[in-house]
């Protein structure tokens, strides 16, 4: 017990120093579970528990917490991606399939097909891989696909995998999206490096994530909402206060927009840009591999 206290105090000391160097602050992300300090090896297990618990009510909670806005944000993400028929796309941490379904619809919509000269063969070739580390989330996604009548469709492929160690080949993807998932990985730079590896030349990386708000009054309101309202909603609707406490804390611990953009650039991407939505509550970072 005393030993544990000692070790946590030492870690606290290293945390104070860590804010001076970017490498150490990455380390701090790897060892943070919300505002708690945890061992690196434990973090992924803890995150996994969170998502196993919330999987079934994930979509409802998204709607309630963001007042339905998360749909608009995902629409904007897919709009920015500009999917085309015949593309190979990877959606990481996309368990319940929100982004994947939108991409599928964008490529296959009848209106789009009528307006543009697309041949059937390239629509057949479209492959959308949905990768998630948590099988429960994937099951919810497969269920939703079945509800839409897409369970036999060869375009949607559900894969279990880790964002830090993808099972896909180098230079195989035209697009890579990660929506509300990157703050849950233990080592962000590894996930970015993997994204760089699997993308083809000219392929795009898009990341939709909750981010930092700087606008004076709005920031206070947002903090109030996050820390007072959301855990209570979690308790009410999902019966799980702790998971949603983790969620709001992990948002605060994630690097701010500029720093995350720099990390993306360090991974080798070009033309790194970000767009703030709702004053910074959500940010879409985009980049290209060249």
């Amino acid at each position: 017990m005393a030993l544990r206290l000692l070790s946590s105090r030492r870690r606290l000391g290293s945390i104070v120093l860590s804010y001076r160097s970017p490498l150490a602050s990455l380390h701090s992300h790897a060892t943070s579970f919300g505002f708690q300090q945890v061992k690196e090896e434990e973090k992924s297990k803890l995150v996994s528990n969170v998502f196993t618990n919330v999987a079934s009510s994930y979509d409802i909670m998204n709607d309630v917490m963001s007042a339905g806005l998360h749909r608009l944000w995902k629409e904007r993400l897919v709009g920015k991606l500009s999917p085309f028929a015949g593309m190979k796309h990877l959606d990481v941490a996309g368990g319940t399939g929100d982004v994947a379904f939108r991409i599928f619809d964008a490529v296959n919509s009848v209106k789009r097909r009528a307006l543009r000269k697309v041949d059937e063969a390239s629509i057949e070739e479209t492959q959308i891989y949905v990768c998630d580390i948590n099988p429960n989330m994937l099951n919810v996604g497969k269920q939703r696909a079945a509800e839409r009548g897409l369970s036999d469709n060869r375009s949607l492929v559900w894969v279990e995998g880790d964002a830090e160690a993808l099972s896909f080949d180098d230079d195989s993807m035209d697009g890579y999206t990660i929506a509300f998932g990157i703050r849950n990985v233990t080592h962000i730079e590894k996930a970015l490096a993997e994204a760089y590896r699997v993308l083809k030349r000219g392929g795009r990386f898009l990341c939709l994530e909750l981010s930092h708000v700087d606008i004076p009054v709005f920031k206070e309101l947002y903090d109030l909402y996050s820390f007072q309202v959301i855990p209570n909603l979690g308790e009410l609707i999902a019966g799980d206060r702790d998971s949603y406490q983790y969620l709001v804390e992990s948002v605060r611990r994630f690097p701010p927009q500029e720093r995350f953009a720099k990390m993306i650039g360090d991974a080798g991407f070009e033309k790194v840009e970000y767009e703030n939505l709702v004053g910074g509550v959500v940010a879409i970072h985009s980049a290209i591999k060249l």
């Binding site: 920015k80 991606l81 500009s82 999917p83 085309f84 593309m87 543009r116 000269k117 035209d174 697009g175 993308l199 083809k200 030349r201 000219g202 392929g203 795009r204 927009q257 500029e258 953009a261 720099k262 650039g265 080798g268 070009e270 033309k271 790194v272 840009e273 970000y274 767009e275 703030n276 985009s286 290209i288 060249l290």
Partner: protein, 298 residues
């Protein structure tokens, strides 16, 4: 004016189109560190990849080396140039750009990152044509033996002939340029084009005349461009060139007639002034002689 300023700022050998293609910032943009070296190595970009292949085996001992990363603008320019080959078939559309990107060996996803997609293709074409025009003029397009109106005619004709391969899809390009979002850029490109033409003709005016000349030439150019769209004349747009010559003549006559109108107005003003003065003198005389009878001072 733009051209001389550009030459001063960027040095010879660089195109004025670089000024137009500076990235537009949305909320925030990170500029890659190799951006500043872009201006110096733009001409080397095409030779970069073969060089890197050759240096691969010799650098094996240094550990994993990243191949030199082309600047995004270079890649975009390359994709757009390749896309132009597909425009005649597919129009000024994303499909043409995706086909172009496949030609260059890049994933079609890159097209999704171009701002105002089709407009990017059209604007790239306009820049390239302007550059071609500048090159043609520099490499000795024969303008010395012609009078100014004929020089202008020739320049406009040279420029419009560049559009002939795309003429079937040019109305689409015009409509893209007329989009409110795209108007600022297309207006700027046309202004540069017209300025370039007057510069080549050897015009050095810098007063109000400067604006008048460019506006008039802009009008002549646009009307000829549109006339060309419906011209079916057998011998390579003969009717368009006749139309062009007439309009240029009108423009020069207009200039002359404005000048003449000015002189005419001055003359009339002088005449009226003189006759008014004469009248006043007469009145004064009469008054003074009448008054003179009663006074002996005058």
């Amino acid at each position: 004016m733009y051209r001389t300023a550009a030459k001063r700022l960027l040095g010879a050998g660089l195109t004025t189109s670089r000024l137009l293609r500076s990235p537009k910032l949305t909320s925030s943009t990170i500029i890659p560190s190799s951006h500043t070296s872009n201006l110096c190595t733009s001409s080397m970009s095409n030779t970069e990849s073969p060089i890197s292949n050759q240096s691969g085996p010799t650098s094996a001992g240094e550990g994993p080396r990243r191949k030199p990363r082309p600047e995004f603008q270079e890649e975009q320019a390359r994709v757009l140039s390749a896309s132009l080959r597909h425009v005649a078939r597919l129009g000024w559309t994303e499909e043409a750009m995706m086909a172009g990107s496949r030609d260059v060996g890049v994933s079609p996803s890159i097209v999704g990152s171009f701002s105002r997609k089709e407009a990017a293709l059209v604007e790239h074409f306009m820049d390239e044509c302007l550059q071609l025009l500048v090159d043609r003029v520099d490499s000795g397009l024969d303008l010395q033996n012609l009078i100014p109106s004929e020089r202008i005619s020739k320049l406009v004709r040279v420029r419009l002939e560049m559009q002939v391969p795309y003429i079937s899809k040019w109305p689409q390009a015009l409509s893209i340029q007329a989009h409110p979002v795209n108007v600022p850029t297309s207006f700027k490109q046309r202004a540069m084009l017209v300025d370039e033409m007057w510069h080549s003709v050897g015009d050095g005016a810098s007063d109000l005349d400067w604006y008048v000349k460019r506006t008039v030439l802009g009008g002549v150019y646009s009307t000829t461009e549109i006339y060309m769209l419906t011209d079916d004349s057998p011998a390579e747009y003969r009717e368009t060139w006749e139309f062009l010559d007439d309009r240029v003549k009108d423009a020069f006559d207009l200039k002359k007639s404005i000048q003449e109108a000015k002189y005419f107005a001055q003359d009339i003003g002088a005449g009226v002034g003189k006759s008014f003065q004469g009248l006043m003198n007469g009145v004064m005389q009469t008054m003074s002689t009448r008054g003179g009878r009663s006074s002996s001072a005058f």
